[in-house]
Amino acid sequence: MHCHVTIWKGGLNLIPLSYYIVTALILYILGMYCLAVKRNMIKLIIGIEILTSAANLNFIALSAYGNPGGVDPLGHTFVIMSIVVGACVVAVALTIAVHAYKHYKTLDVRELKRLRW
């Protein structure tokens, strides 16, 4: 299948693709571990960040290796959108975390047991 390819002159010799996929998998697992186990609200938001970074690495690696001698710029477009949306998600999430800290006086999510003020 012929995707839209940009011919890239002067790129380097790349290591096998599986190294990048394995690194993205490790980042996924670390992000999910952080999101599932940690108690601090800010650590949870950092876990979300790590997850989106893993997905971005996956996109860029696969769009560099899909065609020999070129890159597929569609993957790059998605990654730029993902970076921007991820930053907005972090901004809103940090606002919620700071507001919750002002009320509950703690950053521990296990203290947020009651649903009403």
Binding site: Y19, K43, G47
Partner: protein
């Protein structure tokens, strides 16, 4: 040869900084390790023939998002 070492070294550095991010007790160390992870990821994007994405990553993640985290950490300090 040197390119292979560079790519492998950056991949290992990304994983190491992520582990420091997840496991650190002090919140400031966590945020600084997140910045280092974003910068090494940006360098990896550069080596993978994606310079625009690398610039966006370093500008937004290692620039704006880390500053937001530091502001949030400073606002939620227990003093």
């Amino acid at each position: 040869m040197i390119e292979d070492i560079l790519q492998l070294g950056l991949l290992v550095a990304t994983c190491v900084f992520t582990v420091i991010t997840v496991e650190s007790k002090d919140l400031l160390h966590t945020v600084i390790a997140l910045a280092a992870m974003s910068v090494s990821l940006g360098a990896l994007f550069w080596l993978l023939n994606a310079p625009y994405v690398a610039v966006f990553q370093i500008l937004i993640y290692a620039g704006a998002v880390v500053v937001l985290f530091i502001a949030a950490v400073m606002l939620t300090r227990r003093k």
